[in-house]
Symmetry: C2
Subunit: 357 residues, 2 copies
């Protein structure tokens, strides 16, 4: 892929978001979902921008996914968002109060994977006329949160069903890497276990951009899909064959600040912009137009570019980088610079940056 | 080390800074410098807090070190700071204008490692009556920025000396890991090369917290030392024997949100708080009071804790973590919570967070 425009009026380092590409990515996934009768519920963690969340809904998404209450509230403040799934165990009086505030503003669904989490939700949501929908989070192999057997899923579903102010809505998972089939099988068994005790499983929601174009294979069991990274894509997803460099909507614009040797150059973006996320890859990003270059080292404010051949860069040159992991880059700066091709659209505050509560 | 107080009124995840410990770390290093006749010039990247920068100066530091103009301006806005060394190649009209603004407010020294950088500085600083002091950045083995030979250092020093609005002040390096002796030898040769062409080398500045207690060994050549991490210390420096857990002033307070198995628990701090920096260590931080636990995986909002023995944690429990790398954690949230032992002092905005220009 070519190096792309270098936007000489934009001070570096800067995070560029090509809106043409982001919108094309949103639209393409929505068409895919529409074709296959899947519901799309994008995870906003990747862009953290109310304007792109609105675009996702306008194109046909049934709602958005957030992982933290504060991120959801930042999205809702942006306007135009009326349906949120919060895929995170909420605990403690302070957060439950915020959750009530969120529930008053949107159709809210939450998750739980243990009785203490359900009991906390039940203490804050007590109105049988307006019960809070709760999904059981299932560990289908990824080994993070979630009940670990289909039987435990059904037991927790019953516990939810017994709470007057809650209603059991279905199942949620983040599938293990490269084994969406195993996850679907796990979910089918959990659904059967729930139905065997008389419960209705309305929603089964799965996620992850790596399997985005395979989601239809399990549409008989999975009703809804929650990808995040697909809106921007990134180096990790090019590496996995999910997209091309030309689909990548988020890039980091940097300036070469030092060329100490024939084979080494230093740029003004380090881990404070690119982050240290490797996602199993070698190096810290892809330099557009320069596949020979490896970003082999980051410190906070510097990135080191090395090449076996001549580095061929001068002090003051600009390079654009597709990061390993787009989501985490969105979280690093207060603003991104939106562009459309070679035209600058403007700085845009990242509304949900740095929100962890 | 014990688990420490869990501050039940502080919502998690939160970055806690124990001011008693930070002040003790500042004071101890200053005493060390005073004993050995070394100048201290702390790097503020670790705390990004004007109040701690002021403490460092009050105890005897000759000034502060910043890597970006925006960080320096954030410190100066805080008041009480009058001497700044900017250890970063400044390039481009926009940044040179900001640099002029900074120079108008403090005694400023900058660095350069190439003629284009010197020429940019010379275009912005033209007053022979008030020349801008410039140090030559030297690559003494770390392989990042810097001229690569003592002879190149002397040649660039001469180029600086020829600019009417600049004055050659000396040499700056970040030494290679574990080889401060080689760096000192390199600097001695560069100093000799500068003196051989008739230049005076007033300042020779080195840095790095890993060698903080060895700095006196090279005091005949190195005049000034720029450690950053020592103000908080962290897991990487405990691992290298530079400090103990009881010296670590920055911890991350987290809540256990899921305990899916006997050997696994999930906390509400992931890479958005702890970052993915490994610094060569296994795992993503040290759980205070639980040396058996490994934080073996981070996603953005979750940290996975595993133990060979029983994990022994319940949903809702709190744990405190010493991160691998304190500096990068300071950059993740808008506020830290300052404490003194088991007493909460208050939230404090991180003035220089997210500033990369």
């Amino acid at each position: 892929m070519a190096a792309g425009p270098s936007f000489p009026t934009v001070d570096t380092p800067a995070v560029l978001v090509d809106l043409d590409r982001a919108e094309a990515n949103i639209d393409r996934f929505q068409r895919y979902c529409d074709e296959h009768g899947l519901k799309a519920r994008p995870h906003i963690k990747t862009h953290k921008l109310p304007s792109l969340a609105k675009r996702q809904l306008q194109m046909g998404a049934v709602g958005i996914t957030c992982q933290k209450i504060s991120e959801a509230l930042a999205m809702v403040e942006g306007g135009g968002i009326d349906d949120v799934l919060l895929t995170y165990n909420v605990l403690g009086a302070a957060k439950l109060k915020e959750l009530q505030r969120l529930a008053a503003r949107v159709r809210l669904t939450v998750v739980a994977d243990s009785e203490p989490v359900v009991d906390g939700l039940a203490s804050a949501f007590t109105d049988p006329a307006k019960p809070l929908p709760v999904l059981v989070e299932c560990d289908t192999g990824a080994g993070r949160c979630g009940v670990t057997t289909p039987e435990a899923a059904a037991a927790l579903a019953q516990h939810i069903d017994r709470q007057p102010g809650l209603t059991f809505q279905g199942l949620m998972t983040y599938p293990p890497k490269g084994d969406a089939a195993a996850a679907a099988d796990w979910l089918a068994r959990a659904k059967a276990a729930c139905e065997a005790v008389g419960l209705t499983v309305t929603t089964i929601t799965s996620g992850g951009s790596p399997d985005i174009w395979q989601a239809h294979r399990w549409k008989d069991i999975v009703t809804e899909y929650r990808p995040g990274t697909y809106v921007y894509f990134d180096r990790s997803l090019v590496d996995r064959g999910v997209c091309t460099w030309d689909d990548c909507a988020l890039t980091v614009l940097t300036t070469v600040v030092s060329v100490p040797t024939e084979h080494r150059a230093i740029i003004d973006a380090g881990s404070k912009v690119l982050t240290s996320d490797l996602l199993g890859l070698d190096g810290h990003g892809h330099v557009l137009g320069r596949p020979d270059i490896v970003i082999d080292q980051l410190s906070e404010e510097h990135g080191r570019l090395v090449s076996q051949g001549p580095i061929g860069l001068r002090v003051g040159d600009r390079v654009r980088i597709v990061p390993n992991h787009a989501c985490v880059v969105s979280n690093m700066l207060d603003h991104v610079v939106t562009v459309r091709g070679d035209r600058i659209d403007g700085p845009l505050p990242v509304a949900a940056r740095g929100l962890v509560w």
